[in-house]
């Protein structure tokens, strides 16, 4: 029996009067690849940002790896203007910053690559190892944590070898070709030892061949790092190839859930993507 790694309940995110994500209920079993698709502006990235702690939800809760990492119900001004379709009342308020959520085992990449541009490929990965550092500042300055530092460096090197970027280790991150930058961003996320990896349009701007390579790469790291993967993607071939289950969003609402075959035949999804003849 597989366990649930990430679960959202009635997750709603409202900005002013706009409900960007409305009553999102996702269940991600450990070890699966789940995709989140939908037309532009459907609220996919907002959903990611709420889950990773970038925004505090207007209503609803996020449950990850045995604990509630975010929970909120409409308060103060939001109580008056709240317009989400779900009215379930949550009593607790749980707030976690993105860095803490990352340390709990959830790492992400960004839609528009956010590497540390002026630093080297190696440094980019090494920095991600910092979040689990045990030594304090003073002991790090005086190198009392020499073994820890060496271990961090070895792990970072090993990781670069695994993802095939070792030859570029001393290059500036911004000098890498586009596809390699995407790969580096995934490697950097892997360096934080995640259980769940959130990929925000990993194949954006890639040609079909690169996309195919990426699909293989995602499946590869899923197995070798024992990951669960949650991804947003527009390349339908990639999504249909690798995902176990798909959630479709449109205007913030979940319009369909199911495995790739079901989604392909779902009339609501076809309508959302292609429009409907009047």
């Amino acid at each position: 029996m597989s366990t649930i790694l990430l679960k959202t309940e009635h997750l709603t995110m409202q900005f002013g009067g706009v409900v960007a994500v409305d009553d999102l209920n996702i269940e991600i079993p450990t070890g699966s690849i789940i995709a989140l698709i939908g037309p532009n502006g459907a609220g996919k990235t907002t959903a990611f940002n709420v889950i990773t702690g970038g925004y505090q939800p207007s209503n609803g809760s996020v449950f990850f790896d045995g604990q509630t990492i975010g929970e909120n119900s409409p308060r103060t001004k939001m109580k008056r203007i709240y317009n989400g379709s779900d009215k379930t009342v949550f009593t607790h308020r749980v707030v976690n910053t993105p860095d803490r959520i990352t340390r709990l085992g959830m790492a992400r990449t960004f839609q528009n690559i956010r590497l540390f541009k002026d630093l080297t490929v190696f440094e980019n990965v090494l920095i991600a190892k910092h979040c689990h550092i045990k030594a304090g500042m003073l002991s790090a300055v005086f190198r009392f944590n020499h073994t820890e530092e060496q271990a961090m460096r070895h792990e970072a090197e090993a990781l670069l070898k695994t993802v095939g970027l070792f030859d570029y280790r001393d290059d500036k991150a911004s000098s890498l070709p586009y596809g390699k930058q995407r790969r580096l961003e995934i490697a950097r996320a892997l360096a934080t030892h995640p259980k769940l990896l959130l990929l925000d349009e990993p194949a954006a701007g890639m040609n079909p061949k690169e996309t195919e390579e990426l699909a293989l790469f995602i499946q590869e790291i899923k197995h070798s790092f024992g990951l669960t993967i949650f991804l947003i993607e527009h390349h339908m071939n990639l999504v249909m190839d690798i995902s176990d289950s798909i959630y479709v969003l449109d205007y913030g609402k979940t319009i369909a859930v199911g495995d790739p075959k079901e989604i392909q035949k779902n009339p609501a999804v076809i309508r959302a993507y292609l429009g409907v003849e009047e």
Partner: protein, 381 residues
Amino acid sequence: MHVKRNTILTIASAAVLIGILYWLSMHQLKQGMLVSIIQKSIIFALVAVSMNLLNGFTGLFSLGQAGFMSIGAYTTAILLIPVKNLDGVYYVNGVHPLIRAFKIFIAESPAWLQSLFPFIALLIGALLAALVAALVGIAVLRLKSDYLAIATLGMSEIIRALCSSPQMDTITNGSYGLNKIPGFPGMFGGLIPPMATPFVVVALCIAFIMLLIKSSYGRAFKAIREDEIAAEAMGINLFKHKEMSFVVSSFFAALAGGLLAMYMRSIEAKTFSISLTYDILLIVVIGGIGSVTGSVLSAFLVTASKEWWLRFFDHPLTIGGWEVPLFRTGFRMIIFSILLMVVVLVYRRGLMGSNEFNWDRLLGRFANLRRKKKSSQGGDR
């Protein structure tokens, strides 16, 4: 092979520097001006490096250095003015009885404590500034870029105003300032002469900052500079690391302030006005934002050209009965400003950019020059 050569070069140049220092300490009386200029430079180098840690490596544009320097300078000065001079210094309003009592206690303490006390005073000043920074940081570090600069600038002015306020008369001597501050102490029981003390202290401090920058925490600082959102997504606690950088930077700024008090022998609140922060910002920018060695180099160049090399322009000059116009007191500042503009135009990112000094680069440049010369000569024939 190259590593070995570089180590030898580094050791050799360090030996040369120590030799020069030794020579200067032997001929201190004759070379008074030179000694005081390089002492001032090295103190400014420390402030510049501390500012660079914050502005260049953590990406926090803060303009509060002068405020923290004044905390260090005042604390050190108050703790160090000898008992016998107290009445002379606080001649208007008298001195707070607690300060006097503390000084009498120190004056009667064992000799080893007394010889160590100047350094303890420096440390107390620095720790006090670090504490203030920690408290101020909680409030202002939420701000970004320009807003942070304005907030820290305001804080620096508040500290200065506090130091010169009448309410503080019996502690900081208000607007009269403090004088009769003892100069640099010797170190290690006279092994290092007083004249060389600031060099040793500053070298240790800069070494600390460089080690910090090269540690895992330093890498986290750089990550925050590069991209805050990505850094946070990589599990770096933004507030904790910004606060850390702010506190460490303020600690060393205050320590340099304490050294400055020892160097100047008398301080007043005006010394630590905003223009001091700008002087330091200038050093940082000229040296290269994000380069420690750049800051040190630029501290020496800027101070020396301000106080020494350009003095020539301040005196009236007559060539064969014709008096050259413009050569009068203050003209050197105009030349200085023009030089600054030239430097900034030629080196867009400061003398060192964000690189650190290394022998390969320097020697490589020389080799390039020689090659160019050769090829141009070949072209002539």
